[in-house]
Protein backbone atom coordinates (compact mmCIF):
# COMPACT_ATOMS: atom_id res chain seq x y z
CA UNK A 1 0.00 0.00 0.00
CA UNK A 2 1.28 3.44 -0.95
CA UNK A 3 0.32 6.72 0.67
CA UNK A 4 1.21 10.21 -0.50
CA UNK A 5 1.09 13.23 1.79
CA UNK A 6 1.33 16.68 0.20
CA UNK A 7 2.68 19.36 2.49
CA UNK A 8 3.42 23.04 2.14
CA UNK A 9 5.92 25.21 3.93
CA UNK A 10 4.42 28.52 5.07
CA UNK A 11 5.71 31.45 7.10
CA UNK A 12 4.74 31.88 10.71
CA UNK A 13 1.65 34.08 10.55
CA UNK A 14 2.91 36.31 13.37
CA UNK A 15 5.65 37.67 11.09
CA UNK A 16 5.72 41.02 9.30
CA UNK A 17 4.84 40.67 5.66
CA UNK A 18 6.24 42.96 2.98
CA UNK A 19 5.55 42.65 -0.76
CA UNK A 20 8.19 41.16 -3.06
CA UNK A 21 9.66 43.22 -5.93
CA UNK A 22 6.84 42.38 -8.38
CA UNK A 23 4.09 42.81 -5.78
CA UNK A 24 2.63 39.35 -6.31
CA UNK A 25 3.47 37.80 -2.94
CA UNK A 26 5.54 38.37 0.19
CA UNK A 27 9.28 38.77 0.38
CA UNK A 28 10.88 35.89 2.30
CA UNK A 29 13.26 38.15 4.21
CA UNK A 30 12.80 38.08 7.96
CA UNK A 31 10.11 35.37 7.92
CA UNK A 32 10.35 32.10 9.82
CA UNK A 33 9.07 29.09 7.86
CA UNK A 34 7.34 25.96 9.14
CA UNK A 35 4.82 23.31 8.08
CA UNK A 36 1.30 24.50 7.21
CA UNK A 37 -0.92 23.58 10.17
CA UNK A 38 -3.53 21.47 8.31
CA UNK A 39 -0.68 19.53 6.69
CA UNK A 40 0.60 18.37 10.08
CA UNK A 41 -2.74 16.64 10.55
CA UNK A 42 -2.35 15.06 7.10
CA UNK A 43 1.11 13.69 7.95
CA UNK A 44 -0.08 12.44 11.34
CA UNK A 45 -3.08 10.61 9.85
CA UNK A 46 -0.89 8.87 7.24
CA UNK A 47 1.60 7.79 9.90
CA UNK A 48 -1.20 6.54 12.18
CA UNK A 49 -2.60 4.45 9.33
CA UNK A 50 0.86 3.03 8.68
CA UNK A 51 1.10 2.06 12.37
CA UNK A 52 -2.43 0.63 12.36
CA UNK A 53 -1.44 -1.63 9.46
CA UNK A 54 1.72 -2.88 11.12
CA UNK A 55 4.09 -0.61 9.27
CA UNK A 56 3.43 -2.02 5.79
CA UNK A 57 2.23 1.13 3.97
CA UNK A 58 4.93 3.24 2.39
CA UNK A 59 4.45 6.93 3.14
CA UNK A 60 5.85 9.45 0.65
CA UNK A 61 5.91 13.12 1.63
CA UNK A 62 5.90 15.65 -1.22
CA UNK A 63 6.52 19.37 -1.12
CA UNK A 64 6.94 22.02 -3.81
CA UNK A 65 9.10 25.08 -3.35
CA UNK A 66 12.63 26.45 -3.09
CA UNK A 67 15.49 24.71 -1.25
CA UNK A 68 14.21 25.79 2.18
CA UNK A 69 11.20 23.42 1.98
CA UNK A 70 13.53 20.43 2.49
CA UNK A 71 13.56 21.33 6.19
CA UNK A 72 9.78 20.85 6.33
CA UNK A 73 10.00 17.56 4.40
CA UNK A 74 12.56 16.41 7.01
CA UNK A 75 10.12 17.23 9.79
CA UNK A 76 7.44 15.09 8.13
CA UNK A 77 9.98 12.27 7.77
CA UNK A 78 10.84 12.65 11.46
CA UNK A 79 7.11 12.31 12.22
CA UNK A 80 7.19 8.93 10.45
CA UNK A 81 7.18 9.42 6.68
CA UNK A 82 9.36 6.95 4.75
CA UNK A 83 10.64 9.02 1.84
CA UNK A 84 10.52 12.54 0.50
CA UNK A 85 9.89 14.11 -2.87
CA UNK A 86 11.04 17.69 -3.30
CA UNK A 87 9.84 19.40 -6.43
CA UNK A 88 12.49 22.08 -6.51
CA UNK A 89 10.66 25.12 -7.82
CA UNK A 90 11.97 28.54 -6.78
CA UNK A 91 8.97 30.06 -8.60
CA UNK A 92 6.38 28.05 -6.63
CA UNK A 93 4.89 31.15 -5.01
CA UNK A 94 4.15 32.59 -8.47
CA UNK A 95 2.15 29.51 -9.50
CA UNK A 96 -1.61 29.29 -9.21
CA UNK A 97 -3.45 26.29 -7.69
CA UNK A 98 -4.00 24.80 -11.15
CA UNK A 99 -0.24 24.69 -11.79
CA UNK A 100 0.58 23.31 -8.34
CA UNK A 101 -2.02 20.56 -8.85
CA UNK A 102 -0.46 19.72 -12.24
CA UNK A 103 2.89 19.01 -10.61
CA UNK A 104 1.42 16.85 -7.83
CA UNK A 105 -0.84 14.94 -10.20
CA UNK A 106 2.08 14.53 -12.62
CA UNK A 107 4.09 12.87 -9.88
CA UNK A 108 1.19 10.76 -8.57
CA UNK A 109 -0.15 9.61 -11.97
CA UNK A 110 2.29 6.75 -12.50
CA UNK A 111 2.74 5.75 -8.88
CA UNK A 112 -0.65 4.31 -8.01
CA UNK A 113 -1.11 5.80 -4.56
CA UNK A 114 -3.97 4.18 -2.65
CA UNK A 115 -4.48 7.26 -0.51
CA UNK A 116 -3.42 10.87 -0.82
CA UNK A 117 -3.63 13.17 2.17
CA UNK A 118 -3.34 16.95 1.85
CA UNK A 119 -4.16 19.85 4.12
CA UNK A 120 -7.58 21.39 3.60
CA UNK A 121 -6.00 24.75 2.84
CA UNK A 122 -2.81 26.66 3.41
CA UNK A 123 -2.58 29.40 6.00
CA UNK A 124 -0.99 31.86 3.59
CA UNK A 125 -3.14 31.38 0.45
CA UNK A 126 -6.17 29.58 1.82
CA UNK A 127 -7.53 28.65 -1.61
CA UNK A 128 -8.65 25.14 -0.55
CA UNK A 129 -8.27 24.17 -4.23
CA UNK A 130 -5.10 22.17 -4.71
CA UNK A 131 -6.20 18.86 -3.15
CA UNK A 132 -9.50 18.78 -5.02
CA UNK A 133 -7.81 19.71 -8.31
CA UNK A 134 -5.29 16.88 -7.88
CA UNK A 135 -8.16 14.42 -7.35
CA UNK A 136 -9.98 15.79 -10.40
CA UNK A 137 -6.85 15.43 -12.53
CA UNK A 138 -6.31 11.86 -11.30
CA UNK A 139 -10.01 10.98 -11.55
CA UNK A 140 -10.17 9.67 -7.98
CA UNK A 141 -12.68 10.23 -5.16
CA UNK A 142 -12.15 13.20 -2.90
CA UNK A 143 -13.55 14.43 0.40
CA UNK A 144 -12.60 17.84 1.81
CA UNK A 145 -12.41 19.03 5.40
CA UNK A 146 -11.73 15.58 6.88
CA UNK A 147 -12.09 15.59 10.66
CA UNK A 148 -12.52 11.85 11.19
CA UNK A 149 -10.94 8.98 9.25
CA UNK A 150 -11.19 5.20 9.29
CA UNK A 151 -9.72 2.50 7.02
CA UNK A 152 -10.77 -1.10 6.68
CA UNK A 153 -9.59 -3.21 3.73
CA UNK A 154 -9.76 -0.46 1.16
CA UNK A 155 -13.00 1.04 2.50
CA UNK A 156 -12.58 4.59 3.77
CA UNK A 157 -14.99 6.16 6.23
CA UNK A 158 -14.70 9.90 6.62
CA UNK A 159 -16.30 12.58 8.72
CA UNK A 160 -16.21 15.99 7.17
CA UNK A 161 -16.73 19.25 8.95
CA UNK A 162 -19.85 21.19 8.08
CA UNK A 163 -21.13 24.44 9.57
CA UNK A 164 -22.16 25.08 13.18
CA UNK A 165 -20.57 21.99 14.72
CA UNK A 166 -22.27 19.53 12.34
CA UNK A 167 -20.43 16.71 10.68
CA UNK A 168 -21.25 14.73 7.57
CA UNK A 169 -20.34 11.04 7.39
CA UNK A 170 -19.23 9.39 4.14
CA UNK A 171 -18.03 6.09 2.84
CA UNK A 172 -15.84 5.63 -0.22
CA UNK A 173 -13.30 3.25 -1.69
CA UNK A 174 -9.62 3.77 -2.41
CA UNK A 175 -7.96 5.26 -4.36
CA UNK A 176 -9.04 8.49 -2.75
CA UNK A 177 -7.77 11.91 -1.78
CA UNK A 178 -8.67 13.46 1.55
CA UNK A 179 -8.03 17.07 2.49
CA UNK A 180 -7.47 17.26 6.24
CA UNK A 181 -8.93 19.81 8.63
CA UNK A 182 -7.44 20.95 11.93
CA UNK A 183 -8.60 18.77 14.81
CA UNK A 184 -8.49 15.49 12.83
CA UNK A 185 -5.94 14.11 15.31
CA UNK A 186 -3.12 15.38 17.53
CA UNK A 187 0.03 15.72 15.44
CA UNK A 188 3.04 14.25 17.21
CA UNK A 189 6.26 16.02 18.02
CA UNK A 190 9.18 14.20 16.40
CA UNK A 191 11.40 12.47 18.96
CA UNK A 192 15.16 12.96 18.91
CA UNK A 193 15.88 9.38 17.67
CA UNK A 194 13.33 9.87 14.88
CA UNK A 195 14.86 13.22 13.96
CA UNK A 196 18.24 11.46 13.67
CA UNK A 197 16.69 8.68 11.55
CA UNK A 198 14.97 11.18 9.28
CA UNK A 199 18.31 12.58 8.22
CA UNK A 200 19.13 9.26 6.55
CA UNK A 201 15.84 8.99 4.68
CA UNK A 202 15.87 9.53 0.96
CA UNK A 203 14.57 12.77 -0.56
CA UNK A 204 14.24 12.66 -4.36
CA UNK A 205 14.66 16.06 -5.98
CA UNK A 206 12.71 16.69 -9.18
CA UNK A 207 12.38 19.73 -11.42
CA UNK A 208 8.89 21.07 -12.28
CA UNK A 209 9.35 20.14 -15.96
CA UNK A 210 10.00 16.54 -14.98
CA UNK A 211 6.67 16.15 -13.18
CA UNK A 212 4.38 18.35 -15.29
CA UNK A 213 4.19 22.06 -15.80
CA UNK A 214 0.90 23.53 -16.92
CA UNK A 215 0.09 27.13 -17.80
CA UNK A 216 -1.58 29.36 -15.19
CA UNK A 217 -5.31 30.09 -15.22
CA UNK A 218 -5.05 33.19 -13.02
CA UNK A 219 -2.61 35.93 -12.14
CA UNK A 220 -2.02 37.84 -8.92
CA UNK A 221 -0.98 41.39 -8.16
CA UNK A 222 -1.13 44.05 -5.49
CA UNK A 223 -0.05 42.03 -2.47
CA UNK A 224 -0.63 44.52 0.32
CA UNK A 225 -1.56 45.03 3.92
CA UNK A 226 -5.24 44.47 4.49
CA UNK A 227 -6.87 47.88 4.79
CA UNK A 228 -7.74 47.51 8.41
CA UNK A 229 -10.22 49.69 10.07
CA UNK A 230 -8.39 50.87 13.15
CA UNK A 231 -10.10 50.10 16.43
CA UNK A 232 -11.84 53.17 17.84
CA UNK A 233 -9.54 53.22 20.83
CA UNK A 234 -6.06 51.72 21.00
CA UNK A 235 -4.54 51.42 24.47
CA UNK A 236 -0.85 50.79 25.05
CA UNK A 237 1.47 51.06 28.02
CA UNK A 238 1.40 49.70 31.55
CA UNK A 239 -1.02 46.76 31.97
CA UNK A 240 -2.37 48.12 35.27
CA UNK A 241 -3.06 51.58 33.84
CA UNK A 242 -4.87 50.07 30.85
CA UNK A 243 -6.93 47.87 33.18
CA UNK A 244 -8.03 50.99 35.12
CA UNK A 245 -9.17 52.62 31.90
CA UNK A 246 -11.02 49.49 30.79
CA UNK A 247 -12.91 49.28 34.09
CA UNK A 248 -14.01 52.91 33.70
CA UNK A 249 -15.01 52.23 30.11
CA UNK A 250 -17.03 49.12 30.97
CA UNK A 251 -18.79 51.13 33.67
CA UNK A 252 -19.68 53.89 31.24
CA UNK A 253 -20.57 51.86 28.16
CA UNK A 254 -21.93 48.53 29.40
CA UNK A 255 -24.27 47.24 32.07
CA UNK A 256 -21.98 44.48 33.32
CA UNK A 257 -21.39 46.12 36.70
CA UNK A 258 -24.96 47.25 37.28
CA UNK A 259 -26.55 43.90 36.60
CA UNK A 260 -23.86 41.78 38.13
CA UNK A 261 -23.04 40.29 34.77
CA UNK A 262 -24.91 37.99 32.47
CA UNK A 263 -26.30 35.45 34.88
Amino acid sequence: MNILVCIKQVPDMGGRFTPNACGTWFDDAGLVFRMNDCDEYAVEEAVRLKEQLGGTPDVTVLSIGPARVVETIRKALAMGGDRGVHIDDPSASERDPWQISAMIAGHAMSRKYDLIFTGMQSEDRGSAQVGVLVAERLGISCVTGTIGFGWMDGIVTVERELEAGMRGMMKLTAPALLTCQQGLNTPRYPTLPNIMKSKKKEIVVLRPEEVGLDGPLSSAAGFRTHEHKTAGLVLTGDAGDIADRIVALLDAKTTVFRRGGAR
Binding site: L133, G165, G168, M170, Q182, G260
Partner: protein
Amino acid sequence: MRVLLVGECRAGRLAGEIAELFGFSVALGAQASMLLVGSPDDLPAFEGRLYFADAREYGEYNPEAHKRLVMEAVERERPDAVAFLHSSYGWDLAPRVAATMRAAQVSGVTGIDGGGYRVDSCNGKMCRTVSPLTPNVVLTLQPGAFPSPQLSGAPEVVRIDADPVSKVEFLGRRQPDEVVDLSRAQVIVSAGRGVGKQEHVDLVRDLAAALGGEIGASRPVIDAGWLERSRQIGISGQTVAPGLYVACGISGAIQHVAGMKGSGLILAVNTDQEAPIGDVADVFVVADLVQFLPALTARIKARPGVSF
Protein backbone atom coordinates in the same frame (compact mmCIF):
# COMPACT_ATOMS: atom_id res chain seq x y z
CA MET B 1 -22.02 40.07 -17.39
CA ARG B 2 -23.92 36.94 -16.43
CA VAL B 3 -23.34 35.11 -13.18
CA LEU B 4 -24.63 31.69 -12.15
CA LEU B 5 -25.04 31.61 -8.38
CA VAL B 6 -24.87 28.21 -6.72
CA GLY B 7 -27.35 28.05 -3.86
CA GLU B 8 -27.12 25.79 -0.89
CA CYS B 9 -29.45 23.60 1.10
CA ARG B 10 -28.58 22.34 4.60
CA ALA B 11 -30.70 19.62 6.23
CA GLY B 12 -33.59 20.37 3.91
CA ARG B 13 -33.55 24.14 4.42
CA LEU B 14 -32.33 26.85 2.07
CA ALA B 15 -29.20 28.38 3.63
CA GLY B 16 -29.91 32.01 4.58
CA GLU B 17 -26.37 32.97 3.55
CA ILE B 18 -27.31 32.63 -0.13
CA ALA B 19 -28.57 36.23 0.06
CA GLU B 20 -24.87 37.21 -0.02
CA LEU B 21 -24.61 35.60 -3.47
CA PHE B 22 -27.24 38.05 -4.68
CA GLY B 23 -25.43 40.87 -2.87
CA PHE B 24 -22.35 39.94 -4.86
CA SER B 25 -24.16 39.86 -8.21
CA VAL B 26 -25.53 43.35 -7.46
CA ALA B 27 -22.00 44.57 -6.60
CA LEU B 28 -20.80 43.07 -9.88
CA GLY B 29 -23.67 44.64 -11.83
CA ALA B 30 -24.39 41.20 -13.27
CA GLN B 31 -27.52 39.43 -14.38
CA ALA B 32 -28.03 36.54 -11.97
CA SER B 33 -29.42 33.06 -12.35
CA MET B 34 -29.18 30.36 -9.70
CA LEU B 35 -28.63 26.64 -9.50
CA LEU B 36 -30.04 24.91 -6.43
CA VAL B 37 -30.04 21.30 -5.36
CA GLY B 38 -32.61 21.72 -2.65
CA SER B 39 -36.12 21.30 -1.42
CA PRO B 40 -39.08 22.18 -3.70
CA ASP B 41 -40.83 23.64 -0.61
CA ASP B 42 -38.06 26.11 0.14
CA LEU B 43 -37.05 27.99 -2.98
CA PRO B 44 -35.20 31.32 -3.06
CA ALA B 45 -37.18 34.46 -3.93
CA PHE B 46 -35.66 36.42 -6.82
CA GLU B 47 -36.44 37.48 -10.36
CA GLY B 48 -34.52 35.25 -12.74
CA ARG B 49 -33.96 31.68 -13.80
CA LEU B 50 -33.63 28.98 -11.15
CA TYR B 51 -32.10 25.71 -12.30
CA PHE B 52 -33.45 23.24 -9.82
CA ALA B 53 -32.82 19.62 -8.83
CA ASP B 54 -34.38 17.89 -5.83
CA ALA B 55 -31.97 17.11 -2.98
CA ARG B 56 -34.08 14.06 -2.09
CA GLU B 57 -33.01 12.62 -5.42
CA TYR B 58 -29.39 13.82 -5.58
CA GLY B 59 -28.48 14.10 -1.90
CA GLU B 60 -27.27 17.20 -0.12
CA TYR B 61 -23.65 16.10 -0.37
CA ASN B 62 -22.93 14.23 -3.56
CA PRO B 63 -20.12 16.18 -5.19
CA GLU B 64 -19.99 14.15 -8.40
CA ALA B 65 -23.70 14.46 -9.14
CA HIS B 66 -23.81 18.10 -8.02
CA LYS B 67 -20.87 18.87 -10.32
CA ARG B 68 -22.81 17.38 -13.23
CA LEU B 69 -25.86 19.46 -12.30
CA VAL B 70 -23.81 22.67 -12.10
CA MET B 71 -22.26 21.84 -15.49
CA GLU B 72 -25.73 21.25 -16.93
CA ALA B 73 -26.79 24.72 -15.76
CA VAL B 74 -23.50 26.20 -17.04
CA GLU B 75 -24.11 24.74 -20.48
CA ARG B 76 -27.62 26.14 -20.63
CA GLU B 77 -26.90 29.53 -19.08
CA ARG B 78 -23.37 30.17 -20.45
CA PRO B 79 -22.43 32.45 -17.53
CA ASP B 80 -19.25 34.51 -17.37
CA ALA B 81 -18.87 33.64 -13.70
CA VAL B 82 -20.07 30.86 -11.39
CA ALA B 83 -20.23 31.94 -7.75
CA PHE B 84 -20.41 29.75 -4.64
CA LEU B 85 -20.32 30.58 -0.96
CA HIS B 86 -16.95 29.75 0.59
CA SER B 87 -18.66 27.16 2.78
CA SER B 88 -18.11 23.45 3.33
CA TYR B 89 -20.35 22.91 0.29
CA GLY B 90 -18.83 25.63 -1.87
CA TRP B 91 -15.12 25.09 -1.28
CA ASP B 92 -15.66 21.38 -1.95
CA LEU B 93 -17.65 21.73 -5.16
CA ALA B 94 -16.12 24.83 -6.76
CA PRO B 95 -12.72 23.33 -7.71
CA ARG B 96 -14.46 20.31 -9.24
CA VAL B 97 -16.51 22.63 -11.43
CA ALA B 98 -13.51 24.86 -12.22
CA ALA B 99 -11.43 21.83 -13.28
CA THR B 100 -14.25 20.62 -15.53
CA MET B 101 -14.67 24.08 -17.08
CA ARG B 102 -10.89 24.61 -17.17
CA ALA B 103 -11.65 27.98 -15.67
CA ALA B 104 -9.67 29.98 -13.14
CA GLN B 105 -10.98 29.77 -9.60
CA VAL B 106 -10.63 32.59 -7.11
CA SER B 107 -11.33 31.43 -3.53
CA GLY B 108 -12.62 33.50 -0.63
CA VAL B 109 -13.43 36.66 -2.58
CA THR B 110 -13.84 39.70 -0.29
CA GLY B 111 -14.23 42.40 -2.95
CA ILE B 112 -14.18 43.34 -6.60
CA ASP B 113 -10.95 45.00 -7.79
CA GLY B 114 -11.33 46.21 -11.38
CA GLY B 115 -11.23 43.08 -13.55
CA GLY B 116 -10.01 40.98 -10.65
CA TYR B 117 -11.12 39.91 -7.20
CA ARG B 118 -9.70 40.79 -3.81
CA VAL B 119 -8.80 37.88 -1.57
CA ASP B 120 -7.26 37.73 1.89
CA SER B 121 -3.97 36.02 2.52
CA CYS B 122 -1.71 35.24 5.48
CA ASN B 123 -4.56 34.66 7.91
CA GLY B 124 -6.30 37.90 6.98
CA LYS B 125 -3.29 40.14 7.64
CA MET B 126 -2.65 40.75 3.95
CA CYS B 127 -4.65 40.74 0.74
CA ARG B 128 -4.06 40.72 -3.02
CA THR B 129 -5.90 40.88 -6.28
CA VAL B 130 -6.35 37.71 -8.29
CA SER B 131 -7.47 37.99 -11.92
CA PRO B 132 -8.66 35.19 -14.16
CA LEU B 133 -6.72 34.52 -17.37
CA THR B 134 -9.60 32.39 -18.67
CA PRO B 135 -12.83 33.63 -20.31
CA ASN B 136 -14.90 32.23 -17.42
CA VAL B 137 -14.22 32.29 -13.73
CA VAL B 138 -15.34 30.26 -10.73
CA LEU B 139 -15.56 32.15 -7.44
CA THR B 140 -16.18 31.36 -3.80
CA LEU B 141 -17.29 34.30 -1.67
CA GLN B 142 -15.93 34.88 1.82
CA PRO B 143 -18.78 34.81 4.36
CA GLY B 144 -19.90 38.28 5.37
CA ALA B 145 -17.93 40.04 2.61
CA PHE B 146 -21.00 41.05 0.59
CA PRO B 147 -24.31 42.46 1.81
CA SER B 148 -27.45 40.34 2.19
CA PRO B 149 -30.22 42.08 0.25
CA GLN B 150 -33.85 41.40 1.12
CA LEU B 151 -34.90 38.80 -1.45
CA SER B 152 -38.16 39.03 -3.34
CA GLY B 153 -39.72 37.80 -6.54
CA ALA B 154 -40.62 34.48 -8.07
CA PRO B 155 -37.98 32.73 -10.18
CA GLU B 156 -38.66 30.90 -13.40
CA VAL B 157 -37.96 27.32 -12.29
CA VAL B 158 -36.15 25.09 -14.78
CA ARG B 159 -35.82 21.49 -13.62
CA ILE B 160 -32.58 19.82 -14.62
CA ASP B 161 -31.27 16.28 -14.41
CA ALA B 162 -27.94 14.53 -14.35
CA ASP B 163 -26.51 11.12 -13.59
CA PRO B 164 -26.94 10.75 -9.78
CA VAL B 165 -24.24 8.08 -9.36
CA SER B 166 -21.41 8.86 -6.98
CA LYS B 167 -18.33 7.06 -5.68
CA VAL B 168 -18.79 8.82 -2.35
CA GLU B 169 -21.72 7.55 -0.29
CA PHE B 170 -23.25 10.06 2.13
CA LEU B 171 -24.27 8.27 5.33
CA GLY B 172 -25.80 11.18 7.21
CA ARG B 173 -25.10 14.03 9.56
CA ARG B 174 -24.30 14.07 13.21
CA GLN B 175 -23.75 16.67 15.91
CA PRO B 176 -20.85 15.19 17.87
CA ASP B 177 -20.88 17.42 20.92
CA GLU B 178 -23.50 18.70 23.24
CA VAL B 179 -23.58 22.42 22.53
CA VAL B 180 -23.23 24.89 25.38
CA ASP B 181 -25.60 27.59 24.17
CA LEU B 182 -23.56 30.78 24.15
CA SER B 183 -26.03 32.68 21.99
CA ARG B 184 -27.81 34.19 25.01
CA ALA B 185 -24.74 35.11 27.07
CA GLN B 186 -24.41 38.85 27.71
CA VAL B 187 -20.65 38.62 28.26
CA ILE B 188 -18.25 36.29 26.48
CA VAL B 189 -14.50 36.22 27.06
CA SER B 190 -12.73 34.18 24.39
CA ALA B 191 -9.30 32.64 24.15
CA GLY B 192 -7.30 32.40 20.93
CA ARG B 193 -4.00 30.96 19.80
CA GLY B 194 -2.22 33.92 21.40
CA VAL B 195 -2.89 32.58 24.91
CA GLY B 196 0.12 30.40 24.15
CA LYS B 197 -0.30 27.76 26.86
CA GLN B 198 -3.11 25.73 28.37
CA GLU B 199 -2.47 27.30 31.82
CA HIS B 200 -3.23 30.73 30.40
CA VAL B 201 -6.75 29.64 29.47
CA ASP B 202 -7.43 29.92 33.22
CA LEU B 203 -6.66 33.66 33.04
CA VAL B 204 -9.38 33.96 30.42
CA ARG B 205 -11.77 31.84 32.50
CA ASP B 206 -11.10 33.98 35.58
CA LEU B 207 -11.98 37.17 33.71
CA ALA B 208 -15.14 35.56 32.31
CA ALA B 209 -16.16 34.54 35.83
CA ALA B 210 -15.44 38.01 37.26
CA LEU B 211 -17.63 39.55 34.57
CA GLY B 212 -20.35 36.95 35.12
CA GLY B 213 -19.95 35.72 31.57
CA GLU B 214 -19.10 32.62 29.59
CA ILE B 215 -15.78 31.48 28.21
CA GLY B 216 -15.44 30.83 24.49
CA ALA B 217 -12.59 30.15 22.11
CA SER B 218 -11.41 30.32 18.55
CA ARG B 219 -10.45 27.22 16.65
CA PRO B 220 -6.76 26.73 17.58
CA VAL B 221 -7.56 26.58 21.30
CA ILE B 222 -10.26 23.97 20.69
CA ASP B 223 -8.03 21.91 18.41
CA ALA B 224 -5.29 21.98 21.03
CA GLY B 225 -7.80 20.39 23.41
CA TRP B 226 -7.59 23.27 25.90
CA LEU B 227 -11.35 23.82 25.90
CA GLU B 228 -14.33 21.72 24.89
CA ARG B 229 -15.35 21.97 21.24
CA SER B 230 -18.86 23.04 22.23
CA ARG B 231 -17.42 26.45 23.15
CA GLN B 232 -15.99 27.19 19.72
CA ILE B 233 -17.10 30.51 18.25
CA GLY B 234 -17.03 31.07 14.50
CA ILE B 235 -18.33 29.55 11.31
CA SER B 236 -17.65 25.96 12.32
CA GLY B 237 -18.88 26.67 15.85
CA GLN B 238 -21.46 29.06 17.28
CA THR B 239 -22.54 32.51 16.23
CA VAL B 240 -22.88 34.87 19.18
CA ALA B 241 -23.80 38.50 19.82
CA PRO B 242 -23.25 39.35 23.50
CA GLY B 243 -23.27 42.90 24.85
CA LEU B 244 -19.55 42.57 25.63
CA TYR B 245 -17.08 40.37 23.79
CA VAL B 246 -13.48 40.18 24.98
CA ALA B 247 -11.14 38.56 22.43
CA CYS B 248 -7.93 37.44 24.17
CA GLY B 249 -5.06 36.51 21.88
CA ILE B 250 -7.40 36.09 18.92
CA SER B 251 -5.87 37.19 15.63
CA GLY B 252 -9.27 37.70 14.00
CA ALA B 253 -9.36 35.14 11.20
CA ILE B 254 -12.48 35.79 9.14
CA GLN B 255 -13.93 32.40 10.17
CA HIS B 256 -13.92 33.54 13.80
CA VAL B 257 -15.01 37.11 13.18
CA ALA B 258 -18.07 35.92 11.24
CA GLY B 259 -19.26 34.29 14.47
CA MET B 260 -18.92 37.32 16.79
CA LYS B 261 -18.96 40.56 14.81
CA GLY B 262 -22.55 41.26 15.86
CA SER B 263 -21.42 41.73 19.49
CA GLY B 264 -22.04 45.05 21.23
CA LEU B 265 -18.74 46.27 22.65
CA ILE B 266 -15.74 44.34 21.31
CA LEU B 267 -12.54 44.49 23.32
CA ALA B 268 -9.43 42.91 21.80
CA VAL B 269 -6.30 42.04 23.76
CA ASN B 270 -3.35 41.24 21.54
CA THR B 271 0.38 41.92 21.35
CA ASP B 272 0.19 42.35 17.56
CA GLN B 273 -1.45 45.68 16.85
CA GLU B 274 -1.77 44.72 13.18
CA ALA B 275 -3.87 41.65 13.95
CA PRO B 276 -7.05 41.72 11.83
CA ILE B 277 -9.23 41.56 14.97
CA GLY B 278 -8.66 45.36 14.94
CA ASP B 279 -11.18 45.45 12.06
CA VAL B 280 -14.07 44.75 14.39
CA ALA B 281 -12.68 45.79 17.78
CA ASP B 282 -14.01 48.94 19.44
CA VAL B 283 -11.15 48.92 21.91
CA PHE B 284 -7.75 47.38 21.20
CA VAL B 285 -5.50 46.70 24.16
CA VAL B 286 -1.93 46.18 22.99
CA ALA B 287 -0.56 44.13 25.86
CA ASP B 288 0.65 40.73 26.94
CA LEU B 289 -2.49 39.03 28.18
CA VAL B 290 -0.53 37.21 30.90
CA GLN B 291 -0.01 40.60 32.57
CA PHE B 292 -3.13 42.38 31.48
CA LEU B 293 -5.87 39.81 32.22
CA PRO B 294 -5.02 39.26 35.91
CA ALA B 295 -4.73 43.04 36.36
CA LEU B 296 -8.20 43.56 34.87
CA THR B 297 -9.75 40.64 36.76
CA ALA B 298 -8.36 41.91 40.07
CA ARG B 299 -9.81 45.40 39.49
CA ILE B 300 -13.21 44.07 38.56
CA LYS B 301 -13.33 41.82 41.62
CA ALA B 302 -12.24 44.73 43.82
CA ARG B 303 -15.04 47.01 42.67
CA PRO B 304 -17.29 47.93 45.57
CA GLY B 305 -20.95 47.13 45.21
CA VAL B 306 -20.55 44.28 42.75
CA SER B 307 -21.98 41.03 43.98
CA PHE B 308 -22.21 37.76 42.12
